[in-house]
Symmetry: C2
């Protein structure tokens, strides 16, 4: 007969008695920018906060890199732009400088085996398709502007929009093949997923949260306008500095137990005021547990879904976390002796419907004379690249760049690459997506507090969802929730 | 400055040195029917096998229950039918008896606020819609029959079929609203998900794996033809009996490390033959590790994705696991003093497009005079039910049953319910689904061996995918893979 573990060894769940390493008001799981933001605010309110991070670095989906030439470069999220007020304010507060990206010259579009040059939003798309694109762009942005970003499931036509994919919505609203393919690729570069992989409601919500597709797709005046000198990872490093040894790296959180007791977080706090210690929640790591009155889980949803929760999370909470699937993207930072494309009147911006690389930007930095291009392989192209080794990936990217910019682009001084789908504590970028049917059934659960757990992370933001700015806002919201729960 | 865990405590990952509890040829993770099948075959080949199960019972998505009246009833998977040769053979081998379900009388269809009676596949659908349904049924089954079930991504038109949802495919191939809504509900009762939540390729593959929609939707001659006297959980219990104390319950597996070393599984085996012990893989539980030469992970894909793997799984393997999302269903077993509907000429079968309950069957058993109905709440209805407590769920189901069968159906002797989305080691039923774009990009990774890990479970089957029969076949395949790897 089968035996139970108890028969010959100790009961074997993460709820078992593990050593208690410490007791805190709040444990924050994840030292990405959302978790660090929440932690800083909670510390400012006088709370005892511990931040646990699995990696040996802070910053989550932002990460610093450096070319052999010495130039620092971003391996993760890198741009900031107007209306991203929270990230701009944080950068200013930390004394970080921003600089405007290089955007002079013609952009290139590769579609239907043709190369086109353009200098406006339509990248040299043919006249008819350009008009159709501008029309659908306007329609997307007016529709997105009509959504309830706090509660997308209550938006006009939410049910109908959630039942069709973004691709279907596009097909219904744009008859021009060229414009549709162009929009599709533009969307792939924003979602790192194909337009048939998320619902129309998700598309409109996500774009709406950033002020529309036009703002999201543009450099100057839009989401790719500026960068932070030295890299965006400095945002997290700056926050981590103020938190000091409250941030513990190299510690993988395995589970959260007793989270439901904290109807409870209030009770715990009051108990403490009365001099009775009561930390109902346990955050489990394989080295031992930390106790807390409240927990902020500041992980990408899919990562959050992989923790062990006792009791089990409610079904819709589990569905919301596990079904907010991450995009797939590989980012290549390619350094050359000089930005040779500029001399040819090119901006460095490329959108291609025909290549592995779907998007390229000039990514030069002010403190280097070198030329730098950043190239993205996204969505289904990324899943194809997942099958290859790094050498082949770089080879294919350089071949694409050579087709875009001529042979010289095939001879860089260095290629840095990061495949975010391979990062075991991220498992995909940029943000997450909801496929059809999810926003209207479990969308309300995505950011809703669960007992003593607040959920942070860019996917839970209602403004600039999926962006650094949204991550900060989500951390602020989580901190407010915790303060409310603790009666502060 | 942030500190690393090493600064003040031991390195904190599941790869750390944990006590080794035992060393085996093969560790099987999960004592559902696929894992137990694999284990039995491997033991028969003379291997030392350990099966680790998180729950205090075997059987996975099959589970035995019992009414207060003493009648045993299934809380999980319950039907078997023709062409499900593996499960029928297993039942016979274990000496379990099957019985044919009750299917005499008229079936009911509720659609567009109308009640219809019928006795064929169309449930009394209006003449025009009935013809349209039979036409689309034929088209689905001929198209599904043309798929390459072993490699759906290589099927004719795979790319196009994977880019649209099943709902889109239906819309393109069935102009009759009534027939389409009827098909949609039929599909919801098979997938426990709405037809816009999976790709057309997935629909066709899944239906094809069971021999077509017609076979899957029918009772007599189809997937709901027979049941096992006493319940399907006895299949797993029978297998577990033969495995004896090789099955350890109450042991949650947290991770698998060193799985890649086992290019390796062969090497390990050869090393052993040479007298050198070498078990490169570690299966981690919070009570300690088990070493093995090969591992069979026999969990639903989403559960498998939540284990910790070191090194991290390849990106497409992770995507395949985490994106094969589980359906959502609540199952209600409702017992009455007698099967009163039979006297009214009703079969007990109901399909409703208008109610929380989408599907009902007569579920009486031969050794009781009581009347039993089984009612399912599926897909978006299930996600709505997730918000309610058990009392409200039962109340709503009984109200639906009373609408179907009259007031008497509101007065059962007992209601047993199971919400599979709330089960922390299952997180959804019946099977999993791939949304658009996944079969053609990561489908090949779903069942493909990863280093020393073979993947089993109903979602990896090519015949009767998602069914008990498929689970058995997947366990057989996994066992073959392990034997091949170990050179047996």
């Amino acid at each position: 007969m089968p035996v139970t573990q108890e028969d010959h060894m100790q009961k074997n769940t993460v709820a078992q008695e593990s050593p208690v390493l410490g007791s805190h008001d709040v444990v924050v799981v994840g030292a990405g920018i959302s978790g660090l933001t929440a932690a800083e605010l909670l510390v400012q309110r006088g709370l005892d906060v511990l931040v646990l991070e699995a990696r040996d670095r802070v910053g989550g989906r932002t990460e610093g890199g450096r070319f052999a030439s010495g130039t620092p470069i971003e391996l993760g999220g890198q741009w900031v732009g107007p209306t991203q007020d929270e990230v701009l304010a944080l950068a200013a507060r930390l004394g970080l400088q921003t600089f405007t990206v290089h955007d002079d010259g013609a952009s290139l579009l590769f579609a239907d085996d043709e190369r086109r040059e353009g200098s406006d939003d339509t990248f040299g798309l043919g006249e008819e398709s350009a008009a159709a694109f501008l029309e659908v762009l306007r329609l997307i942005d007016t529709t997105a502007a009509g959504l309830d970003l706090e509660r997308p499931w209550l938006s006009p036509d939410a049910a109908a929009l959630d039942r069709i994919t973004a691709a279907q919505w596009l097909r219904e609203h744009c008859a021009d093949d060229g414009a549709r393919d162009f929009t599709d690729t533009m969307l792939a570069s924003i979602f790192a997923a194909e337009s048939d992989e998320y619902s129309a409601l998700h598309m409109l919500f996500y774009l709406g949260s950033g002020g529309g597709l036009h703002r999201m797709m543009t450099t100057i005046g839009g989401a790719q306008e500026s960068r932070i000198l030295g890299g965006t990872h400095q945002l997290s490093e700056g926050l981590a500095r103020t938190l000091g040894d409250r941030v513990v790296l190299g510690t993988e959180v395995l589970g959260v137990t007793g989270w439901n007791a904290a109807s409870s977080a209030e009770g715990a706090h009051h108990a403490e005021e009365a001099g009775e210690p009561a930390r109902p929640v346990r955050v489990h790591t394989s080295a031992g547990d930390h106790e807390a009155s409240a927990v902020v889980v500041a992980l990408p949803p899919v990562m959050a879904s992989r923790l062990h929760y006792e009791p089990a999370l409610p079904a819709n909470r589990d569905i919301a976390l596990s079904h907010m699937t991450a995009g797939n993207v590989l980012k290549f930072q390619v350094e050359y002796e000089e930005p040779f494309w500029r001399a040819e009147g090119l901006s460095g911006t490329v959108l291609s419907l025909d290549h592995h690389v779907s998007l390229v930007y000039d990514n030069c930095v002010p403190d280097s004379e070198r030329g730098i291009l950043v190239a993205f392989v996204e969505g289904r192209h990324a899943r194809a690249f997942n099958e290859l080794g790094e050498v082949d990936r770089a080879r294919l990217v350089l071949a694409d760049l050579a087709q875009f910019f001529g042979e010289r682009a095939g001879w860089p001084t260095e290629v840095l690459q990061r495949n975010w789908s391979e990062e075991s504590f991220t498992r995909g970028c940029y943000g997450g997506r909801f496929a059809t049917g999810l926003w209207t059934t479990v969308g309300k659960d995505l950011a809703r507090r669960s007992g003593a757990i607040s959920w942070a992370g860019a996917e839970t933001a209602t403004v600039w969802n999926g962006y650094i700015d949204g991550a900060i806002r989500s951390g602020q919201r989580a901190a407010r929730e915790v303060c409310d729960a603790l009666g502060l």
